[in-house]
């Protein structure tokens, strides 16, 4: 905590306004989603009918299925790629380490539009048909830097003497990894997985470029829906996504600390 003793009241007011600005559209969506009178505010009651309608729509359910499978697969792959890299970066000092770190973080520095377009062109040009691979690759690469960041932070907190002890009593590399390293950094793993999953689950720009026909993730499905009608069913679906994201934020904050996860 830092004490700068100036303009406290003004800063507090501006922060309050800014928070209102940030929360307002989220709150509005949630209110519309449970308001029995479609769009007429203030609400005059509470209903879950819109949620029921959203959750029984075939299109949305299919979108959820796609997003779920995609999110789990991409989060898993991103962590599998990031974990060994994070271990190598934390345990060793070598020339060019900083540069290597920037390279590994590079998917964050490239505008998503360019990155998605590049992958799209790439798969078109190599003659790849309409499969799920481009979508999976796009999501995995895009979220990998986040996994790397969380895993690096949790490995920093891991005392290497635990692993040394395991190795001394005769455990192999694999055994050490599974019975010492992974259990000790499990909170980091869980929050990394949660963050990766929620970023994939909510992603729109990458999916819109790379989703093959018939495999539309939920955000793209929601987008096509609200292009033509923004009724309370859409609000309920958006509301469900918000609640899921809120859950992920709480999990990540409890386990890893939000601040460490999302540095700029």
């Amino acid at each position: 905590m830092i004490r700068f003793d100036f303009g406290t009241a003004a800063l507090r007011l501006i922060t309050l306004l800014m928070m209102t600005f940030l929360v307002f559209p989220i709150a509005v969506t949630l209110v519309v989603a449970v308001n029995p009178r479609e769009f007429i505010l203030p609400p005059n009651g509470f209903t879950l009918d819109w949620f029921r309608a959203a959750w029984s729509s075939k299109t949305f359910l299919r979108g959820m299925g796609v997003s779920l499978v995609l999110g789990i697969a991409a989060a898993f792959l991103a962590n599998v790629l990031a974990l060994p890299a994070a271990m190598a970066l934390v345990r060793n000092n070598f020339p060019g380490k900083a540069a290597l770190n920037i390279i590994l973080m590079s998917p964050l520095l490239i505008p998503t539009t360019i990155f998605s377009l590049a992958l799209y062109i790439y798969f078109v040009r190599i003659g790849y048909g309409s499969g799920l691979l481009p979508l999976l690759v796009g999501h995995t690469i895009h979220i990998m830097p986040y996994a790397l960041r969380i895993l690096t932070a949790s490995l920093h907190n891991l005392d290497p003497s635990y692993e040394e002890a395991a190795r001394i009593v005769g455990a192999g590399r694999i055994r050490t990894l599974f019975s010492i390293t992974l259990p000790v950094i499990r909170t980091g793993l869980v929050s990394s997985f949660a963050l990766c999953f929620i970023l994939s689950w909510n992603d729109f720009p990458i999916s819109v470029f790379l989703a093959p026909p018939g495999w539309t993730p939920l955000p793209v499905e929601l987008f096509s829906y609200i292009k033509f009608q923004y009724d309370a069913v859409a609000a309920a679906l958006a509301g469900s996504l918000i609640l899921l994201s809120a859950l992920a934020i709480v999990i990540i904050d409890r386990l890893a600390g939000l601040r460490r996860v999302l540095r700029s």
């Binding site: 004490r3 963050l195 909510n202 955000p219 609200i226 700029s264």
Partner: protein, 286 residues
């Protein structure tokens, strides 16, 4: 050393090579290709795709210059909104801090489409914003936010400001509180202490935030796609349209190359500007 470090790093590096570096190079190559009837790409070495964009004053004014302007405006507003918030969060602690951080990060984690839905409810003709403004007598007639440049800028600020807050927070938290205290002890007013000590030391964070948000705004396609109209043809949106709707991959590739090049030039210009600014402050102190 290399033999110990390389194997664990290899999978991630190979993935980046195959699925980032290589496709990006391929975009550059494709930008020199030709498109034949039926959307077939023919290998060629032509600058047609570049001259088609750079030689067309409509594109230059309504797409390139428009995107630069919108990105600069939205970035400037984001910075002005974010700076006080970052200063405030830097001195909070415990639960209040956690709540503020969660709220700042919520727009980054909740998907864009979800957030846009909320904004549509607020923006539309008889929506909340217009009702509020008319009730407060700010104006009398409903104003268009949806499918309009105003809505696009508001949304870009909404998405961009949290990034600026986070990168500023990085800088502010590195400032030793003793510096401010020392300045105050030798008689600097609070305001002087801020301008001479705190503000210059937040320059790196400010610059980092501006770099991220400007690139984000300049290449935005989802926001103008969802909120904009035919008058908000930002360059990212044109890339999206040419690639996915018109299947003109060579032209879309050329646009991407132009986008990255212009972005880099503007950021270099800003780096020079920020460098001067910091140097000037050092001069003044001496």
């Amino acid at each position: 050393m290399i033999r110990r470090v390389l194997p664990p790093l290899a999978p991630a590096l190979i993935a980046l090579l195959v699925f980032v570096a290589f496709p990006m190079l391929w975009v550059v190559r494709t930008s020199f290709n030709e498109l034949e009837a039926g959307a077939y790409i023919v290998d060629a070495l032509t600058l047609d795709n570049y001259t088609r964009f750079l030689g067309d004053s409509w594109y230059l004014i309504n797409t390139l210059w428009f995107s630069i302007r919108i990105a600069l405006i939205a970035t400037a507003i984001s910075v002005v909104c974010a700076y006080p918030v970052a200063l405030y969060i830097a001195r909070t602690a415990g639960l209040q801090r956690n709540i503020l951080l969660a709220l700042i990060m919520a727009p980054l984690l909740i998907g864009l489409v979800t957030l846009v839905y909320g904004w549509i409810v607020i923006f539309r003709g008889g929506g909340l914003l217009n009702s509020l403004m008319i009730a407060l007598h700010v104006y009398d007639q409903p104003v268009r936010y949806m499918w309009d440049i105003k809505g696009v800028v508001i949304l870009l600020v909404y998405i961009g400001a949290p990034y600026v807050v986070l990168s500023l927070l990085d800088s502010i938290e590195r400032i030793s509180p003793f510096l401010v205290e020392a300045a105050r002890n030798v008689g600097a007013s609070r305001w002087t202490a801020f301008w001479k000590i705190v503000f210059p030391l937040t320059m790196p964070g400010l610059y980092a935030g501006i770099v991220i948000v400007f690139a984000l705004n300049f290449s935005a396609f989802a926001v103008p796609l969802m909120i904009g109209d035919s008058n908000t043809q930002m360059i990212g949106l044109v890339v999206y349209r040419e690639a996915l709707l018109n299947n003109d991959l060579p032209f879309a590739s050329a646009l991407s190359v132009i986008m990255v090049a212009v972005n880099a030039m503007i950021l270099m210009g800003m780096a020079v500007f920020f460098g001067r600014l910091i140097l000037n402050r050092l001069e003044v102190k001496r």
